[in-house]
């Protein structure tokens, strides 16, 4: 029961902050709400026993990506407080599309409610978190680390990810580098 209340509070916090991110006209406030939303997602990871990923979420999303976003907002500051509308002309259709998209997903859950029950029910396996020994959960990070460097595991995606990060680093510097004539 406590577990469910904690889950509902964290979820409500995450989703409220996400709504603020997409509706707030002041982009700086939206970026702060984005950080709060990332924090809520980290809380959801903790309820899923993924402590390592929660820490990575704090470091990468809140520590790095949000700060990058805030830097970008400050460097394009002049446009932040104009009286221009925050939404384009197709905002109504966008809302309709998002609601229909969620409706379709929810309908799928409703159809498959015998396999993926919508209410807690001890008879169905996916209705509650499976109980596993604490060692298995603690060992998952070590297993993940070994899978990253195992040729039979994920060593190729791991190396490609490192090349991707290098390419993004060099590409970001080159794209943002001022042209010689801009300085004059």
């Amino acid at each position: 029961m406590v577990e469910q209340i904690v889950f509902l509070i964290i979820s409500a916090f995450t989703l409220t902050m996400a709504v603020i991110v997409v509706t707030k006209r002041n982009l700086f406030h939206a970026a702060l709400a984005l950080m709060a939303s990332f924090l809520g997602v980290a809380g959801l990871y903790v309820t899923l026993d993924a402590g390592f990923l929660a820490a990575a979420q704090l470091l990468v999303y809140i520590g790095a990506i949000s700060i990058l976003v805030i830097f970008a907002i400050m460097m394009t500051r002049r446009l932040m407080q104009t009286s221009e509308p925050a939404f384009n002309t197709q905002a109504g259709f966008a809302l309709l599309t998002a609601v229909i998209g969620f409706g379709v997903v929810f309908w799928v859950f409703y159809v498959f409610r015998n396999i993926w029950p919508l209410v807690p029910d001890t008879a169905v396996p996916l209705a509650s978190k499976p109980v596993v020994p604490q060692e298995v959960l603690q060992n998952s990070v070590a297993l993940m680390g070994r899978a990253f460097v195992n040729p039979a595991g994920y060593v190729l995606p791991f190396e490609i990810a490192s090349v991707l990060l290098l390419a993004a680093l060099v590409g970001a510097i080159i794209v943002a580098w001022p042209k010689a004539e801009d300085k004059a």
Binding site: M1, Q4, F7, T14, L15, V21, V22, L27, L34, S37, V41, L44, D49, A50, F52, L53, V60, Y61, A64, I65, L68, V69, A72, I73, T76, L79, E84, A86, F87, N88, A91, A94, L95, T97, F102, V105, F106, F109, R113, P117, L118, V119, P120, L126, A127, S128, K129, P130, L143, M144, P157, L164, L165, A168, L169, G171, A172, V175, A176, D182
Partner: protein, 102 residues
Amino acid sequence: MIPLSWYLIVAALLFSIGLYGVMARRNAVAILMSVELMLNAVNINLVAFWRYTAPDRPVGLTWAVFVLTVAAAEAAVGLALIISVYRRRDSVIAEDLDSLKN
């Protein structure tokens, strides 16, 4: 006693909110923030499926880390592009960036 579907519904809601932001916002930085929300929704799904269906095999965790990596790269390049566009055209409104239109 939390069913798997609760996590999936929260992730679907977060994804829908991000989708609305991508389609409706005019500022390019706001669009990028909405994309980050959508990537977070995907990660919640991956971790939830890992915990409920295969806690002894960290496949979901592994892919969640890859999504995290790609999100970081995407944010860095996207924001560099926005700053470059702002320098050249003095605007970060997505509708004004129409040089490919004609």
